[in-house]
Symmetry: C2
Subunit: 164 residues, 2 copies
């Protein structure tokens, strides 16, 4: 199989903790929606197109993924439990081995996404990658689908560095 | 001292190897100059301003640094031998401990720059960071000036992801 470009995208700015009875119900704020739309527009201007867009089921992530689909970045979104906070990278790797794709995006939470990125790059995580809300990490994974400690980093950006 | 933002910038596209008797004399191509100017313009639009801009003495790096100065990103450039290919990170760390600055840029070569970045992040290098010509790495170093294995990565971008 070909190498895989993997984009890890953190959900946008959401309502503060404690403002909803269930943490998973917190939606994006209006500013969070706008910033996420700006990021989506920039990604489209770069001609990115994801074969699959997988998202955490939490409202703030699901809304972020919906904005990316609306911008034309992916044909549809799929909600997967293992992208909820505390989810397991090995669950995603199991899925990865069932598909033949070249470009996948995951929408989720911190510190999970940057931890997954470090495990793909170095095999373990030291907490050295800073992923802001609506920020993006771009990784290249080897085609043999055995990516732990064998991937490379070609992009990491906060949303404020993505000009319109 | 305050944390230090460190930008590692690879020289732009240069004339091919073997076209000059001395490798260090190879200049940027016209396309390399244009792409580097575009990157410089983007960095200025982000309001970046370097207290110090240090560069490798090789022509392709020196020219890249001059483009960054012309764009208003730094008051001047300083040529330092330890940014030539194969230079020693500890020489730069020695310099760093003599200045009180918050934002520094280094213009140099691969694989040195990405190797230095990995040593600052993880203490050692596994060759997992992809730094393209005229690409940028952004690191945050702790204020105590003991940054090896204790820094964080907030930015890594190829020039093609920096839209005008």
């Amino acid at each position: 199989m070909a190498n895989l470009d993997l984009y890890l995208i953190r959900h946008g700015l959401a309502a503060e903790r404690g403002t909803f009875a269930e943490d998973g119900d917190r939606p994006l704020t209006e500013a969070g929606q706008q910033k996420t739309q700006q990021v989506a527009k920039h990604l489209r201007a770069l001609d990115l197109k994801f074969n699959f867009l997988l998202t955490s089921p939490l409202v703030r992530a699901h809304q972020t993924a919906a904005i990316l689909v609306a911008a034309g970045l992916a044909p549809q979104l799929s909600i997967v439990d293992y992208l909820a906070p505390g989810g397991n990278l090995s669950d995603w790797l199991t899925w990865l081995r069932t598909v033949d794709v070249s470009c996948v995006a995951l929408v989720g939470h911190e510190p999970d996404l940057s931890t997954w990125a470090e495990r793909l790059l170095w095999g373990e995580s030291h907490g050295v990658l800073t992923l802001k809300k609506a920020g993006v990490i771009g990784l290249s994974l080897p085609g043999d689908r055995d990516p732990l400690g064998r991937s490379t980093l070609f992009w990491l950006t906060p949303p404020r560095f993505l000009l319109e």
